[in-house]
């Protein structure tokens, strides 16, 4: 039985977004005469409930088998309309969109040629719709377990949430201890709580959790598979373990900026110059015995903090702000004030970033306790006997100043770990210009990556403090739990398929596949597609010398129909217009096509 397409075409006004620029009624009239079209309608907002109901009603009453919606970008509403027609009983892949907003009304001025372009886009979509095939949406089952790479607070928190939800979790931590950088700290800001209490609580819960296997001195060697079915190879105790997982959370953390890279500050040369991390570790030692920070003989009488060391600094390739250092210094300045009540404590800064809850008040408290904030980014540190001298311009005074100090604390920033490229390679993770792992979308998808099933948590994605890390860790766990809890995931159907009659098994397609989705069948000697790994990019289809590969929903037949529609559009149009008297806009458009002058109508 020959398939007869019965296409319903729906042109959206999108309020004035399309309607004010494109002559929608004309486009609708035009669409109604296209081959295969049963009905063409227009409406203000197709994506609204009444708009969707129009479609559903027509499917039921007119037995439509294909639907075209001409409106916004498919990235906006393709899922919406696929769900609409699915509800009405049609296969969701029997749907095509024509983008007459982002690709037409939003980028062209009001006028005949804009309307003509919209018509061409619709004609092309209808031509494709005539060739669309229903596609099977497959489900694969998900391994009910997670792997968390990194045992710092981000990793610990993520693991706890996933485990509490009922799933097995393996934490892979490179070092000997859990707790990451936070375990090395003394107190937090702005509450000045002991960090050890926070971290130890997390570590205890992790160690005692029946479903968490926390491996220390362990390393991920290889990650194979795909979302729902990852195979993670881990080296632990000189043994290679195979850990299956449905989802992976990357929580590998950061490294502090190496202050040796700013030689003008003399870190590593002058014992009086230390970093905020060094100072934190000093504060963390037993504090009763009156010990002094290394390099200081006796209590320091003058302490200077220097902000933005290794951050906001294009001269060493770190243009970004490390977010936490303003508050770290404020905290350490307050703690220093408590330890050394009579010392002069100054902070040299460019800006004070006290954006979080309680931060500005914390900054107020520091100044109330006598910490002096001086605006100016110091240029160099010199030696002066057994003290050092900080040379800067106090920009608020407009004068060069030279301040002697017994202790200079450099507020070093956060940088990506040096082994970031290794982890990125294992998981095909993208990195931003700053070197941190890149989230899928900076605003709307902060914990997902471009790899389905791999999520980001904590400082490996960008500088952040403990509260932000915990939030993101819980968000990543929550996102990771979605496939785990569903137990099954849908596999995108617009993937490649191989016509085995035509395939010679030459393997050129596999060479261009960025997702390792093609492999040679050992028995049949033809290429096969792993539909879960395949992202439908089409590189294989283009490469195949025999034309044996097609991409579902983007077949060569469909493309040729679209191309033909676009190149024959003029004929189509003029043929139609000669059959219809009527719309003056159409006549105007026709004139434009024939390069006659268009009389502007008023």
């Amino acid at each position: 039985m020959v398939f007869t397409p019965k296409v319903g075409v729906y042109i959206c006004h999108c309020g004035i977004n399309i309607g004010a620029t494109v002559d929608v009624p004309t486009v609708t009239e035009f669409a109604s005469h296209l081959p295969g079209v049963t009905i063409a309608r227009d409406y203000t907002y197709m994506c609204s409930d009444p708009g969707q109901n129009l479609i559903k009603k027509d499917i039921a009453e007119l037995s439509l088998n294909r639907v075209v919606v001409a409106s916004c970008s498919p990235r906006m509403h393709e899922p919406t309309f696929r769900a609409t027609i699915s509800d009405a009983g049609l296969n969701p892949y029997c749907f095509e969109m024509a983008n007459i907003r982002e690709q037409c009304s939003w980028v062209h001025p009001h006028g005949a040629s804009t309307t003509i372009k919209a018509m061409e886009l619709v004609a092309s979509a209808v031509a494709k719709a005539n060739h669309l095939q229903p596609l099977q949406v497959r489900q694969v089952s998900v391994i009910p377990a997670g792997v968390v790479i990194g045992g710092g607070i981000a990793g610990l928190q993520s693991a706890l949430d996933i485990a509490e939800a009922g799933f097995q979790v393996t934490i892979v931590e490179r070092s000997e201890i859990l707790g990451g950088h936070v375990a090395m700290l003394h107190r937090t800001f702005p509450t000045l709580e002991l960090t050890s209490a926070l971290v130890n609580e997390l570590i205890e819960r992790v160690k005692n959790h029946p479903r968490i296997n926390a491996l220390t001195k362990a390393e991920v060697l290889e990650v194979g598979g795909y979302v729902g079915n990852f195979q993670v190879k881990v080296m632990h105790d000189n043994q290679v373990l195979d850990v299956p997982a449905g989802a992976i959370v990357v929580a590998t953390g950061f490294e502090p900026f190496d202050a040796h890279r700013k030689p003008e500050y003399g870190y590593g040369v002058y014992p009086q110059v230390i970093t905020t991390l060094d100072f934190e570790q000093f504060l963390n030692q037993k504090t009763e015995d009156g010990s002094s920070p290394r390099g200081c003989s006796g209590d320091p009488k003058s302490i200077i903090f220097i902000q933005c060391v290794g951050s906001r600094d294009q001269s060493i390739g770190n243009p970004y702000c490390s977010r936490i250092c303003c508050m770290v210094t404020t905290k350490q300045a307050l703690l220093a004030r408590q330890r050394f009540p009579t010392a002069d404590i100054s902070v040299f800064y460019m800006d004070i970033r006290a954006y979080g809850k309680g931060f500005e008040e914390f900054y107020d408290q520091a100044r109330a306790e006598g910490v002096l904030y001086r605006r100016g980014n110091p240029s160099e540190i010199l030696q002066h006997g057994n003290r050092v001298v900080v040379r800067a311009e106090d920009t608020l005074l407009g004068e060069q100043v030279e301040i002697e100090a017994d202790l200079v604390v450099l507020a070093v920033g956060m940088t990506p770990r040096t082994d970031t490229s290794v982890v990125a390679g294992l998981l095909k993770l993208a990195r931003g210009a700053d070197g941190f792992f890149m989230e899928a979308h900076p605003k709307l998808r902060p914990v997902e990556t471009a790899m389905a099933g791999v999520f980001l948590a904590g400082a490996c994605q960008g500088p952040k403090d403990i509260s932000e890390t915990i939030s993101q860790a819980r968000a990543a766990a929550s996102a990771a739990m979605i496939p785990l809890m569903r137990g099954q995931i849908q596999v995108e159907a617009a993937t490649s398929f191989v016509d085995e009659e035509l395939c010679a098994g030459c393997g050129q397609c596999a060479q261009v596949c960025a997702y390792s989705a093609l492999s040679l069948h050992p028995v049949r000697g033809v290429m096969t597609v792993n539909a879960v790994l395949c992202q439908g990019c089409g590189a294989c289809a283009v490469t195949c010398p025999s034309g044996a590969i097609n991409v579902n929903h983007f077949t060569f037949d469909q493309f040729f129909a679209q191309i033909e529609s676009l190149s024959n559009g003029l004929e189509l149009f003029t043929e139609r217009s000669s059959k219809n008297s009527g719309s003056t806009a159409m006549l105007e458009s026709e004139q434009l096509f024939r390069n006659e002058s268009v009389v502007p109508k008023n």
């Binding site: 003008e264 460019m350 240029s379 030696q383």
Partner: protein, 381 residues
């Protein structure tokens, strides 16, 4: 009134990038003792609407172009280049110190800012067997290197000693080089830094002809200023430009040059701004010093990137500045004296001359002696 058109100026020099952090002024050696404040200058230009008046801003001539400001700026603004451009506005109107006027005219006429005759440029050679590029090329032999001597090393009697030391060392080390002799003219470094961009571009054009004519592949210079100009200011040509200490260190390391004599001295090394802060050449001069038997190298606190500018660059050899009473060179000599060194070594003719004069001003001739790295190495030939 001498107004510059600020809007375009701000765009050309990307001054909008400045966040006024003050790191430039904080490290500026001239801000220590004059009104020069690079940060404030940029701020005032930003606020000036469309006309910034440089009338009376004599401190613009204090800048030594040491590059401390530009190398440390976290937003990669160059206050130094901004100041050079502002000087250009003065130069265009002819508003320059008579010394500078003389130096510029002399360069134009005689190929050197020292008002010396061109014919005497190679007089320092004396009876040293130094090859002239013109002669060599006529014999169909292209020397490996061009030794670009420079104006001060050619004409100044004190620095001529450095030049002859370099010649002796390099000939012993088997380096095949030739000089341009009277064909050599000023490299233009100070010309550009004084704001005379037009004359500089003319000199660049002339040199490109000369270099092409002799097919120069490699060159080394006496002065870090010439080195920096050919390496960074001239258009890229594929020609390898080095400072003589780089070539010398290389020959010592490979064993082509051996220093067998003894020079039992405590030496401290002053990093010239144009070698160190501009081009990160810190190790080669030290390597040369340390291959001289008997030498003990002591570092001053202000070494490498923190070296204290001698106040000789940026045209300052011709300008006293707005605060001549406190010389940075004297501060530097005092720093050297504090190390207990007998010799203050350097690798730049301008540093040598300014530090030498400072030693005399401080009456410290019996305590410390200023010598070029080449002179020290030549002691052990």
């Amino acid at each position: 009134m001498l107004k510059i058109e600020s809007r375009q100026f701000i765009k050309d020099h990307e001054l909008y990038a400045c966040i006024q952090c003050g790191k430039c002024t904080g490290g500026c050696p001239m801000a220590m003792k004059t009104k020069l404040n690079p940060r404030s200058l940029i701020y005032r230009i930003m606020l000036s609407g469309n006309g910034y008046d440089i009338e009376g801003r004599e401190e613009l001539w204090d800048c030594t172009t040491c590059n401390t400001c530009s190398s440390r700026c976290p937003k990669q603004v160059s206050p130094m280049e901004t100041i050079i451009a502002l000087r250009g506005a003065f130069v265009e109107k002819g508003r320059v110190h008579p010394n500078v006027k003389t130096a510029l005219e002399s360069t134009f006429r005689h190929g050197n800012p020292l008002t010396m005759p061109r014919e005497d440029r190679a007089a320092w050679v004396g009876d040293l067997p130094v090859k002239l590029m013109a002669d060599e090329v006529a014999l169909n032999h292209n020397p490996d290197y061009l030794y670009f001597v420079g104006c001060t090393p050619s004409y100044d009697p004190r620095i001529q000693q450095v030049t002859r030391s370099i010649v002796n060392l390099f000939q012993q080390g088997g380096v095949d080089f030739g000089i341009l002799g009277e064909e050599e003219s000023c490299c233009g470094s100070e010309i550009r830094r004084l704001g005379e961009q037009g004359l500089f571009e003319m000199m660049v054009e002339e040199y490109q002809e000369v270099f092409k004519g002799y097919n120069i592949q490699k060159m080394f210079t006496t002065s870090p200023h010439c080195y920096n100009a050919f390496k960074n200011d001239y258009p890229k040509s594929g020609m390898k430009v080095q400072h003589y200490t780089e070539v010398l260190a290389n020959r010592l390391a490979s064993g082509d040059l051996k220093l067998s004599g003894n020079f039992e001295k405590k030496i401290t090394y002053h990093d010239p701004c144009y070698l160190g802060k501009h081009n990160q050449v810190f190790d080669e001069p030290r390597a040369v010093l340390q291959s001289v038997p008997g030498v003990t190298l002591i570092e001053m606190d202000r070494s490498r990137e923190k070296s204290l500018c001698c106040e000789g660059g940026g045209g300052r050899m011709w300008l006293e500045g707005t605060n001549p009473s406190t010389r940075l060179a004297q501060m530097r000599v005092n720093e050297a004296l504090e190390t207990g060194a007998e010799i203050l070594a350097t690798a730049c003719p301008f540093c040598l001359l300014t530090l030498d004069e400072a030693v005399k001003h401080l009456n410290a001739q019996d305590k410390i002696r200023v010598m070029d790295v080449a002179e020290i190495a030549a002691q052990a030939l």
